[in-house]
């Protein structure tokens, strides 16, 4: 089928590649298939970015997602139509819930075949609609460049998120001129950037006059690269600060003013300070159910809430806010800093009394655990991991008890180092997340803290790690249970451990070795530190560390589902 072409015209597939070059994409995570063969042929002929071949499309999207979390750049994944596209859905939904900028390119059956139940056809735009920031179906080769330009723009601006671009196969074979637009004009999409200065003034006044101030920041602060501005503000005001699970590293965890993580498994002091403060500054956080718990209980104490967020719909969604500030968190905090600097605040007697109260909560040492039954305590492994990596590793996690222990016991001092699925809570992200981090920073220490349930959900990526010689360290906290499920069954289902015991586990050491990796099994507490050192000394090797841990260990503190912030169960209560 000959087409009349101008000499300078190129195929749709080549246009896709040129767009990615223009966006300065360094890694494309993907998996080939029929509908994207033209694009893969164009990838073969180019030399600008590296394609990473995963072993399952879900992992492609997770790896691109982690690359974005680690670097702040837009992550890019490429999958084929039908099952390739549906395999990507969990990855897309995970990124959507945590507002991670991604562009996912999916192949589609040729335009004339759409709607005819063609081989490997799925309505990708329809299927992804509820879990993307936006999506496109490109129906003309001339639209590929402008659509991809828009996709990158939408993904990275405002509240970031994943954007899907579905491209039918025939379009990638058609010819067109390549012109990449310089900028994007969309009358329907103009996210706010600067906060309202009157509201910012009001907020600063409230914070300066507060008797029991508290600062609570989330993933939005990390995504907005506003960590430095936050540290400056918190130090100038002399106020306590907590981070959500998604916000860890937003404020240095080793700093005295940091009260630890808050929420369902947050520290006693952070949750008590949240409940009892009189002025609360929330930045890039969304008062979700795992963080605030029961809203009626939260309302039972009076406090004035200032909420800074780039997304207006996050404000007053679950919790009524008194001073809303819609804007880019970095610019809003910078403005607040300027105003605070003019005032040169000194600690008031009320603030001193507030800190005394906080110290008394802190003295409960809610994260203490007993380490004396001869079994490896998962908390101990994380503490040693923090020491051995000097607190400077990228730590990815899966979802469950190990995730909470990693969040509680690894003290993150920098943003973009703690990489986990907060919103969707996706088991199986840990290993592909570690891959994304290692590609982002090839010489960095990358630790994947996982459980024997989660790791098996994307275990096939051991093969990808071999292909690209990724020196990831897997820290498997193996308690032979789906630990968080077991914990809830112990507390709320009278010890009926329905389907939460993990039987028939593989020999993880042999499994790792079969892929050419180093495998280790650690069964004694006294071997933990040495094994970690040995593993991290193998700077060029992937090491799979199977820690056999205490099966009965639970995560504390814990706010039972539906309870309020100050209704925690502590380890000492049992």
């Amino acid at each position: 089928m000959a087409e009349t072409t101008h000499p300078q015209q190129i195929t749709g597939a080549e246009i896709v590649i040129r767009c990615l070059e223009q966006e300065n994409v360094k890694f494309l995570f993907g998996y080939p298939g029929g509908a994207v063969l033209h694009i893969y042929d164009a990838i073969y002929k180019q030399g600008h970015f590296k394609h990473i071949l995963v072993r399952h499309e879900q992992a492609a999207v997770h790896a691109a997602d982690a690359f974005s979390r680690a670097t702040g750049e837009v992550g890019v994944a490429l999958v084929t139509s039908g099952p390739g596209a549906t395999n990507a859905i969990t990855g897309i939904a995970t990124a959507y819930m945590d507002s991670i900028p991604l562009v996912v390119i999916s192949g589609q059956v040729p335009v004339p075949a759409i709607g005819l139940d063609a081989f490997q056809e799925v309505d990708m735009v329809g299927v992804t609609r509820p879990c993307v920031k936006h999506n496109f179906l490109v129906k003309d080769v001339k639209d590929i460049a402008t659509t991809l330009k828009k996709a990158f723009h939408i993904a990275r601006t405002g509240r970031p998120g994943p954007v899907v671009v579905d491209i039918p196969k025939d379009i990638t074979a058609h010819f067109a001129d390549f012109v990449y637009p310089e900028s994007v004009e969309m009358r329907s999409y103009n996210p706010v950037t600067k906060g309202h200065s009157g509201q910012i003034k009001k907020a600063v006044k409230l914070l300066l006059e507060a008797e029991r101030p508290m600062v609570y920041t989330g993933g939005g602060l990390v995504l907005g690269d506003a960590s430095e501005s936050l540290v400056k503000l918190v130090r100038a005001l002399g106020v306590p600060v907590t981070n959500t699970l998604m916000g860890l590293g937003g404020y240095p965890s080793t700093d005295e003013q940091f009260l630890g993580m808050l929420g369902m498994h947050g520290t006693y002091e952070a949750n008590m300070a949240m409940q009892n403060c009189d002025v609360l500054l929330a930045v890039g956080a969304r008062f979700d159910d795992r963080v605030i718990g029961n809203t009626d209980h939260f309302y039972s104490k009076d406090r004035t809430i200032i909420h800074v967020d780039i997304d207006p719909s996050s404000i007053s969604k679950r919790v009524k806010v008194h001073v809303p500030i819609v804007g880019d968190v970095k610019s809003v905090l910078a403005e607040m800093n300027e105003l605070v600097a003019l005032e040169k605040p000194k600690p008031s007697p009320a603030l001193k009394a507030w800190w005394e109260q906080i110290e008394s909560w802190r003295s409960k040492l809610c994260l203490d655990y007993s380490n004396n039954n001869g079994l490896i305590k998962p908390q101990y492994v994380i503490e040693k991991l923090w020491e051995v990596t000097k607190g400077d590793a990228y730590v990815t996690s899966d979802v469950g008890q190990h995730q909470m222990w990693a969040a509680q016991y690894y003290k993150f001092d920098k943003p973009r180092r703690w990489i986990n699925s907060g919103g969707l809570g996706t088991m199986g992200v840990g290993l592909p997340y570690a891959m994304g981090c290692q590609f982002a920073d090839p010489t960095a220490q990358v630790a994947c803290v996982t459980g024997e349930g989660s790791i098996q959900m994307n275990i096939q990526e051991l093969s990808t790690c071999k292909q690209y010689s990724l020196p990831i360290k897997v820290i498997l906290l193996n308690n032979r249970y789906l630990g968080m499920v077991r914990q809830w069954q112990e507390f709320f289902y009278e010890n009926r451990y329905s389907e939460s015991y993990m039987d028939s586990l593989p020999d993880f050491v042999k499994l790792a070795e079969s892929y050419g990796h180093v495998g280790m099994q650690i069964t004694k507490p006294e071997d933990v530190e040495g094994a970690l050192k040995e593993a991290f000394d193998m700077k060029s090797r992937f090491v799979f560390m199977d820690f056999i841990t205490d099966q009965k260990e639970n995560v504390f503190p814990m706010i039972p589902n539906g309870k309020g912030l100050s209704e925690m169960i502590l380890a000492e209560d049992l």
Binding site: R129, P130, L137, S188, Y189, D311, P312, S313, S316
Partner: protein
């Protein structure tokens, strides 16, 4: 409370399903939804009749604004507005019914737009309440078929929703 939300959106494939999907995904009510292109063929105007507490309505407006294809959103209930709905009713028109139907139609300022051997088709515009009242005023046995468009709304005076 019942609210009428008007919005302008890009006249593109899939835009309607984004709005409809938002309402079902977040559990918002839709009483009716109408959509058609405006005088500018690149834009569609949609009228959604919904209900909910003030907090829910606030979220609906914010979530609609967040959709990338949505250009402008207006809660008509924030000011004065007019709403109209069109209804077509096919009724039995035999014997004594024939006169009565004509009379009812006149009282409600409707128009008979199709006459057949045993039926009339009546066109009626007005607020939802007026259309309801007409239906209630008819003998239920006489109604063969009804079709309603759902409400369209527009602000009074200089309240204008335009790009």
């Amino acid at each position: 409370m019942r609210h009428i939300v008007s919005l302008l959106m890009e006249n593109e494939a899939g835009a309607l399903s984004r709005v409809a999907g938002l309402f079902s995904a977040r559990g918002y009510n839709i009483e009716s939804l109408t959509v058609a292109p405006t005088e500018d063929p690149t834009l569609s105007r949609m009228t959604i009749v919904t209900s909910g507490s003030d907090d829910v309505i606030e979220q609906i407006i914010k979530q609609l604004n967040k959709l990338v294809d949505v250009v402008k959103v207006l809660d008509l209930n924030d000011g004065k507005f007019i709403e109209r709905e069109l209804m077509l009713v096919k009724v039995k028109a035999t014997g004594t019914f024939r006169e009565e139907m004509k009379r009812m139609c006149d009282i409600f300022r409707g128009r008979i737009i199709d006459v057949a051997d045993g039926t009339f088709t009546i066109e009626l515009t007005g607020s939802g309440h007026k259309l309801d009242a007409f239906i209630e005023g008819l003998d239920g046995a006489a109604i063969l078929e009804t079709v309603r468009t759902g409400a369209s709304g527009i602000g009074r005076g200089d309240r204008i929703l335009k790009v």
